[in-house]
């Protein structure tokens, strides 16, 4: 481990410690439909982050008093596995995961058409299997793909990624060492149209630096969106277009 007092350089020969440029994302891998019991699911790797998202619903609300008469409610549970970090994490919800759950839910809720399913609930569960800074952004990305996989009507997908500041420079998608020892971390989530649904900041940035960080993170989100979209489209790459024309009206007429 590198001590805090030691003068540490986050750059070597113009690149970051893991060989990335300052505007480069970590490698991303997405798999859709990994869970048989969930209505929609997604496994995602963003660098060394590994998360799995499961979506259930729309389904009946339990407990009943949470039910909304005119719309569906969205519940989001972010949970870190006890083995996801170096030092064992005490299992169960804590202050941090409650906060992450809340902001993640609020990042996704604006695009979900809750009015289509009154009196129901859409449950999203995100489990962090391995953490390496930016788990909330990975969780939101995975949850957005899982929502689409579950057939939930949405205005668009949501993409999320962070920007940080290390050695006085703004970098995209900070990894663990940059996040822990860096000067700032700015996670954002946005729609492909550029509407921001999540914006947090940990650390200190000047007005100008924040603007640059948000712009950089936005560019990262756009790259992630293309990957999310490609994974979903490729899943059904060989389609039969003619079947979906009139057949819908036919159902139920056959006895």
């Amino acid at each position: 481990m590198i001590g805090m007092d030691e003068k540490l350089s986050f750059f070597k020969d113009g690149v970051r410690l893991d060989g990335r440029r300052s505007d480069e994302l970590r490698p991303i891998k997405i798999e859709v439909g990994v869970l048989a019991r969930a209505d929609g699911s997604c496994y995602m790797e963003m660098g060394d982050n590994r998360v799995i998202a499961a979506v259930y619903g729309p389904r009946e609300v339990h407990p009943r008093h949470l039910q909304e008469v005119t719309r569906a409610i969205v519940r989001y549970r972010y949970n870190m596995a006890s083995f996801s970090v170096e030092e064992r994490k005490r299992p169960g919800p804590d202050r941090r995961s409650n906060e992450v759950s809340k902001v993640s839910r609020e990042a996704l809720e604006p695009v979900v058409l809750t009015s289509y399913f009154p009196k129901s609930v859409v449950d999203i569960f995100v489990e962090v299997l391995q953490a390496d800074a930016g788990t909330r952004t990975a969780g939101i990305n995975a949850a957005s793909v899982a929502l689409a996989d579950a057939g939930i009507p949405m205005k668009s997908l949501i993409s999320s990624c962070a920007a940080g500041k290390v050695d006085g420079e703004i970098v995209l998608d900070p990894m663990k060492i940059e996040d822990n020892l860096g000067e700032a971390d700015v996670p954002i989530a946005m729609t492909p149209g550029g509407d921001i649904t999540l914006l947090q900041m940990d650390g200190r940035l000047t007005k100008d630096e924040l603007k640059r960080a948000v712009d950089l993170a936005k560019a990262g989100c756009r790259q992630i969106y293309e990957i999310q979209r490609k994974v979903l489209v490729d899943r059904y790459s060989h389609m039969e277009p003619e079947i979906c024309d009139e057949a819908v009206a036919m159902a139920g007429e056959e006895i």
């Binding site: 389904r59 057939g151 949405m154 668009s156 729609t191 979903l232 979906c244 159902a251 006895i255």
Partner: protein, 225 residues
């Protein structure tokens, strides 16, 4: 960002610049039509629409479904219709008049029945009926469950797939809109029917499925005899 060249769309994909063409599974924003769902885009009667690849069954009046009795309450049966919303079948909706204390004689908890959705109100109260010759309690046969979005594929264009299955398998098959399928026939025919239905669900999005199912049935039947 026009993505109509590819057939599979994700939520937020631009489908058309003409708001008049907005069909099912789409929404209009700033005079443009976007997809609301992850599914297949298609044009149908000057409309663009998106057929979902997954999703829950939402009851609509007129749908015929296969339901399972969940509970019996004061003069109503509460029916599970494989949906986020439960259905209510009132005692008066049975073809003949029955007394309230006799309700469980006809439909007990766990009983299966072919039911029609009579009405759905804005609070998603689903009223069901069995008052039709073609509806009734299912005492024989078996029930399979598939995704409601695959129901059109199982029926096929003009009923081609389902009619082929009925003919080849000597089974009576009823496809409920809610994705529950009732099959009745001889035991080994039913076995094969249920297996075939699950194959159709899994391969619903592939080309030439009806022909492949036909071949599959032929091979299976030869192996049996």
């Amino acid at each position: 960002m026009d993505r109509m060249d590819r057939n599979v769309v994700v939520p937020g994909d631009l489908l058309s610049d003409d708001p008049k063409t907005a069909g099912e599974g789409t929404y209009v924003k700033d005079g443009k039509v976007f997809s609301l769902l992850y599914g297949m885009a298609s044009s149908y009667k000057d409309k663009v629409r998106v057929i979902p690849l997954a999703g829950k069954y939402v009851p609509l009046p007129g749908d015929t479904v296969v339901g399972v009795v969940q509970d019996i309450v004061f003069s109503n049966w509460i029916i599970n219709i494989n949906s986020p919303y439960e259905g209510l079948l009132h005692i008066s909706e049975l073809p003949r008049k029955i007394e309230m204390n006799e309700m469980s004689k006809y439909l007990r908890i766990g009983s299966t029945a072919m039911i029609r959705v009579k009405d759905v109100d804005s609070t998603m109260k689903v009223e069901l009926t069995m008052n039709d010759r073609r509806l009734g309690i299912l005492t024989r046969g078996r029930v399979a469950e598939i995704s409601p979005t695959r129901v059109p594929r199982l029926i096929g264009k003009g009923g081609s797939m389902i009619n082929m299955l009925k003919k080849e398998l000597n089974c009576n098959i009823f496809v409920g809109q809610n994705g529950r399928i009732w099959v009745d026939g001889q035991d080994d025919d039913m076995d094969l029917a249920l297996r075939t239905i699950l194959i159709i669900e899994k391969e619903a999005h592939t080309t030439g499925l009806t022909d492949r199912i036909m071949d599959f049935l032929r091979v299976e039947k030869e192996a049996r005899s």
